[in-house]
Symmetry: C2
Subunit: 381 residues, 2 copies
């Protein structure tokens, strides 16, 4: 790990600022070459080096600290060599704050219709043109170094749900082996490489995964293999012991989870980082997070509702546009509908996590979570 320091902080060292007395929630901070990252945080997803329908300037205004991009999609188009030639993802997509790339493992296993898996690596077909590609963990590191994100993820095997326990156990072992190979192959000191915990809904396998990864040692840990179809309660149940088993002095990143209530419950369980396509994907479908719970703007009851999308929200959409107007845009498939709802939904999660950070600083996270659980907004999990 690089020992670069800025203002007394070493690059990627995780500073615990505050620990909640009533839950396992933590207020933390770590440094990247593109600024400090304050946790807990939500990271908007820009799969193909763009958060759909949102300009980088707008993401800055919304307070986004880290944007996630996808190695699988960018490897296929425009190609990681092209991104490297462009000066890396930051220059390519005009984003000067931190970037995280996932390894693409999840996409290979969930998107590809056919793949050939071995201990050596994974052979998969492109969803773009059907061409075969092979990735070893070492190949994947080289690609993510070309993309040049601040935080990169190990190549892992993410089993679906349901899956035979035997199958999940094999995935845990293989992912741990690949974690070690990724670490050995990774060269860029300005990037943090995170290991990924697997094990599905089996706590013993999760703990085995954590033990293996801990032996290798990483500056942060992804918690993968959740939100793949398992009952919601199973995830929340196992999350607390998983977090407890992870080192306290490293950030914990629950991959692909973004419902408001799930984020807050996971923070209470000890998670520090989140990403999800939910705010922008649901926006394109015409739905909005709100203090009243999820709103479907296609609903006829909004046709003549000239009030704000969410009266409790201070975002640029809620202060300037009516439900009736947004419904009109959604109904007529106008781009602006998806744009306004994306801005609102991203604000909603970025503001929610900012509120969680403030409550942790004030030592009132327990009350904050209780109030949330009693609110209509809590229905959105």
């Amino acid at each position: 790990m690089a020992r670069v320091t800025i203002a007394g902080m070493a690059l990627f060292d995780f500073e615990l600022i505050n620990v909640d007395p009533s839950t396992s929630a933590r207020r933390g901070r770590f440094l990247t070459s593109h600024g400090a990252v304050e946790t807990p945080l939500f990271m908007p997803v820009g799969t193909r080096a763009t958060v759909k329908g949102v300009l980088p300037d707008q993401l800055r205004s919304l307070g986004a600290q880290v944007v996630l991009a996808n190695t699988y999609h960018l490897f296929l188009r425009p190609g990681s060599d092209l991104v490297r030639e462009a000066g890396g993802l930051h220059a390519f997509m005009n984003w000067d704050r931190a970037i995280l790339t996932d390894s693409g493992g999840f996409q290979i296993f969930s998107l590809a219709d056919t793949l050939k898996l071995s201990d050596e690596g994974v052979k998969f077909r492109s969803i773009v043109d059907g061409a075969w590609h092979f990735w070893s963990p070492e190949d994947n590191m080289r690609i993510q170094e070309d993309l040049g994100a601040d935080i990169i993820m190990q190549l892992d095997q993410c089993p679906p749900y349901p899956a035979e326990k035997e199958f999940v156990a094999t995935a845990v072992k293989r992912s741990a082996d690949w974690a070690a190979r990724c670490k050995a192959a990774h060269r860029r000191e300005d990037q943090a490489l995170f290991g990924i915990v697997q094990g599905g809904v089996h706590l013993d396998l999760r703990l085995e995964s954590i033990e293996r990864l801990g032996e290798i040692g990483f500056p942060g840990y992804g918690i993968g293999g959740y939100s793949v179809g398992e009952p919601h309660e199973l995830m929340l149940e196992s999350l607390a012991p998983v977090c407890a088993a992870l080192p306290a002095d490293r950030p914990r990143y629950l991959m692909g989870v973004g419902n408001p209530t799930t984020i807050l419950e996971a923070i209470a369980a000890g998670v520090d980082m989140f990403d999800c396509v939910l705010p922008t994907r649901t926006a394109r479908l015409g739905t909005a997070f709100s203090s009243e719970g999820r709103l479907n703007l296609r609903n006829a009851r909004f046709a003549r509702d000239f009030g704000p999308l969410d009266g409790a929200c201070a975002c640029s959409t809620c202060t300037q546009y009516s439900r009736a107007y947004i419904r009109h845009l959604v109904n007529t498939k106008e781009m602006l509908g998806a744009m306004l709802l994306s801005l609102h939904n991203l604000h909603y999660l970025l503001d929610l996590t900012a509120q969680a950070r403030a409550a942790l600083e004030a030592g009132t996270f327990g009350e904050f979570l209780s109030a949330w659980r009693g609110s209509p907004a809590c229905d959105d999990y």
Copy 2:
């Protein structure tokens, strides 16, 4: 006409600030309830009360003075009564500068698969649900009063090209009759009602149309029935005598024309106002206006071009993003591609007309036009 005055100017009175000595171009100004309008100008089109892919704040930053919306589309969805209840188009779409609505005549005649036309009005089928609707000129005025734009257009009959001269002559007469009925029915003094010149490519019919409209008297004149399929040269040839026959002290609005060179040539012929979907529609198709002529960003030659979209352009797209990145967005059908190209293309035409105004003020429009005609950008007409 209303005699409201602001700072010594009467609402909708057209002030001629400067007339070019070498062409028929004019630098003018008129007042609306939502601010002064400086001519010549280009008006971005927001068909369904939204300029596709662009936020009102961005339109303001781009210097848009007037946005056009479409009576036909808004009548069908969300309905003009709903827009009235919202407080009119300005409140509905969050645009506090001037708005112009066309009457919908053009759409009825170009979009509807079936229609029944009589001197009384026009019966047409909705493109949304196939329902029949009937508009008299009086109905159309009531609808446009509900929408509440600053400038509204008479209901007219817009013949296609080619059409029998007899047919075009009938359309001229009917449009003039409807112009008189529109004026008689129109009540809102905060709106300017423009007549529309028809006559296709027949100068004698154009002059007859102008004479009829002049007898009725309007604060401004649309020049319709161009850009409907006729050879480009035919339009430019007849435009100068048409403008010359129109009263000098009224703004002239060439409807639906937006190619850079055509705009400048039409300004030289005496046109003051333009609108077109071209900047946003071509943006969604992946093409950009530029000082080098039109660029198709799908072209493989841009794949590794890390320079700006147009090196001569100062817009937010050209100063922040590369051709390679925009090509990637266009190739992967990302919304941001259409958004960035829309912002650039709108800037291009708004800046071009601002340059024309500045040249007219400086008395150098002739030189400005000559320089344009000799530039690679001139190919875009």
